[in-house]
Point group: C2
Chain length 386, copies 2
């Protein structure tokens, strides 16, 4: 197994306010996140030697103009909802190659405002998404997952609702989150049904936001700060929509790309038992059922055991394996290309012990999990303390 373990360090992170940012443009949010990361790393914009932008829209995206970041290489990466972590992966590999000393990775998405014809929202809902125009929607797909889980393993509506309750509990402690308020089980269960058994409050919101990370080679990191964080593993796997969406034998419980990306990241990081070694995780909870399935597909527990993470509090802020201390996609928000980099932001801050009331205990190894499409493109990134 090839690995770039401990070759690349995160020396600065930044994150815009997430939410319905009608007062902020796409470019404004990129500036907010990136200048916070510059400041956090203690660098000047001219120190950046290369940059990556993870975004799904606009089709022709630019970091150069909003950041006045000229005369360096800048690459736009698109990988469905996993664009953020994939931009981070490409940046880390380039730094590990020795080509660039200091690089910037930004994830950003503007999803509110009225969508013109050629935006992501329009393309998914009105045009010809290669999978979704067959009559399937994302929530319809994940609703089927939830129904299969209920049938096979049993899953009460209360347990499913508690995933969202946990997210909102954590998000209420997070000053950048979209929804900074607690909700209770009854509120979730009283919210409108979207695709049985998923209700409105089981769904991550449509969000505006941007996040940024500054990376360098490990040898250079101590020149910038003492509490830099190291990249331990960079897993990524793309499978096929056809296997999932149009495969009559698909089990609606297994996300093969999550399993493969996690296995790769664990091997790279030298992790034998993720249940014991991972301190906390930020996972892709686009819907509440997805978070439960993520526990299982990431190997945190066996099939059918994911619901126990909720019922027994394992995944809560004070639990043995806190998941989504940030509030997750559900409460922090999910601006597509931004989410993966936002996870890097949260994990870095947690590993540095800077998360205040939402700080997890004994943060040594943090896992980020970013899932694209109906699970067809998945990134799993592991960061750790030195």
């Amino acid at each position: 197994m090839n690995s770039i373990r401990d070759k690349v360090a995160v020396i600065g992170v930044g994150c815009s306010r997430f939410g319905e940012n009608f007062d902020l443009s796409y470019e404004d949010m990129i500036v907010d996140a990136t200048y916070e990361a510059y400041k956090d790393a203690g660098i000047d914009p001219k120190d950046i030697q290369a940059a990556w932008l993870g975004t799904v829209n606009p089709e022709i995206g630019s970091l150069a103009d909003p950041l006045r970041l000229f005369d360096i290489p800048i690459t736009r990466v698109e990988n469905y909802c996993a664009s953020g972590l994939d931009a981070f992966r490409n940046g880390c590999l380039a730094v590990a190659s020795g080509m660039y000393d200091i690089a910037l990775v930004v994830g950003a998405e503007k999803m509110r405002d009225s969508p013109p014809n050629d935006t992501l929202v329009a393309s998914v809902y009105h045009h010809s998404h290669p999978l979704l125009n067959k009559g399937m929607s994302y929530i319809g797909f994940f609703g089927m997952c939830a129904n299969v889980y209920r049938e096979k393993y049993g899953l009460s509506e209360e347990t499913l609702a508690r995933v969202a309750v946990k997210s909102h509990h954590n998000g209420a402690l997070n000053p950048r989150a979209f929804f900074q308020r607690e909700i209770d089980v009854k509120t979730v269960m009283d919210s409108p049904m979207m695709a049985h058994p998923l209700r409105l409050l089981h769904c991550a919101p449509v969000t505006d936001g941007a996040a940024a990370a500054i990376i360098t080679r490990k040898e250079l990191a101590k020149n910038f700060r003492n509490d830099y964080v190291l990249v331990k593993g960079l897993g990524m796997s793309v499978s096929t929509g056809f296997n999932i969406n149009f495969n009559p034998n698909y089990d609606f419980l297994t996300f093969r790309s999550t399993q493969i990306a996690a296995k790769s990241a664990y091997e790279q990081a030298g992790i034998k038992d993720p249940r014991k070694e991972i301190s906390f995780a930020e996972v892709h909870d686009c819907f509440s059922i997805t978070e439960i399935l993520n526990y299982e597909n990431l190997g945190f527990c066996g099939p059918g055991e994911g619901k126990r993470f909720i019922d027994e509090g394992v995944a809560s802020l004070e639990g043995d394996l806190p998941v989504n201390p940030s509030g997750g996609l559900k409460s922090f928000g999910h601006p597509i290309g931004a989410s993966g980099v936002r996870m890097i932001y949260e994990i870095t801050k947690q590993l540095q012990g800077k998360c205040g009331p939402r700080q997890v205990k004994n943060a040594k190894l943090g896992l980020a999990h970013n899932l694209g499409g109906t699970g067809i493109a998945v990134g799993v990134t592991i960061l750790g303390n030195q």
Copy 2:
């Protein structure tokens, strides 16, 4: 200057037929190019550990399904018309990092067929391209460049026409080119005026096509073939559209991103004098004037001297510094995301001495130059023999 010189080798290349491929889908062309590259490298599809796709459209592109290439990382890269070389750069950096032993880079674009609302062609011509909706078109911009050049240095219509004549001469020797026929100066000068002084036959055609390259670390390359080609330099620079298009002081002769990307690539490759050391080049001749300006901006000659490359035959197949032996964008065609990887195909085949009637003499170091937008994103890649 950091460099990954001689760390990465090209061990296989492939290229679909370029042209109006109404009989081939986007996916068909990707399969044609990639399976030729697999065969050329002598590898099996399962040997690929990671892949990059350079494409501008579709917005959500996939290599996985057409190639049945599952359970590995696949990243889509978009960087205007330089998407192909930027995908190649990202693949090379990842291989140089040690993370992947064998990687695939594909460039592809489907530009003919009737464009639906959300395609590239539609977005550029009908919607809201960030620069072009101010009333400027690509050919309008490059027409202004040609007028400024004529005013400042003098440039006859015959010389400008001879750029296209040279391209078609080379393309006529190339069985994959879009236009495999010679044209003469009179034909160019009689073709319809598009944006003075640029006529129809000064313009690269709207084209379908795909190209592929297989890369590995140098140490592994000899396991696949003896005549592998080495990556010497990977320059890339993004500047600003505002500097060029809306800057009242812009000189319409200088492509800063070309100059910076070339300087970077030369330094990485240890090239002191490109005029003497580069054996041949594939440059981004989207319009005939662009090719002349490229000579100057790449440092092949001084300002105002580019026209001599045409008048004195320096850039012709038998000249001292042959440019676009493939036929270039003008005759081979220009499927946006494919062109950069297609240049890698041509340079690799030239360095291996496999180009038959269009073979250049003493091919030791070849340069690829891929220009995006109105010169705002430029890749310069240098390949060489061992």
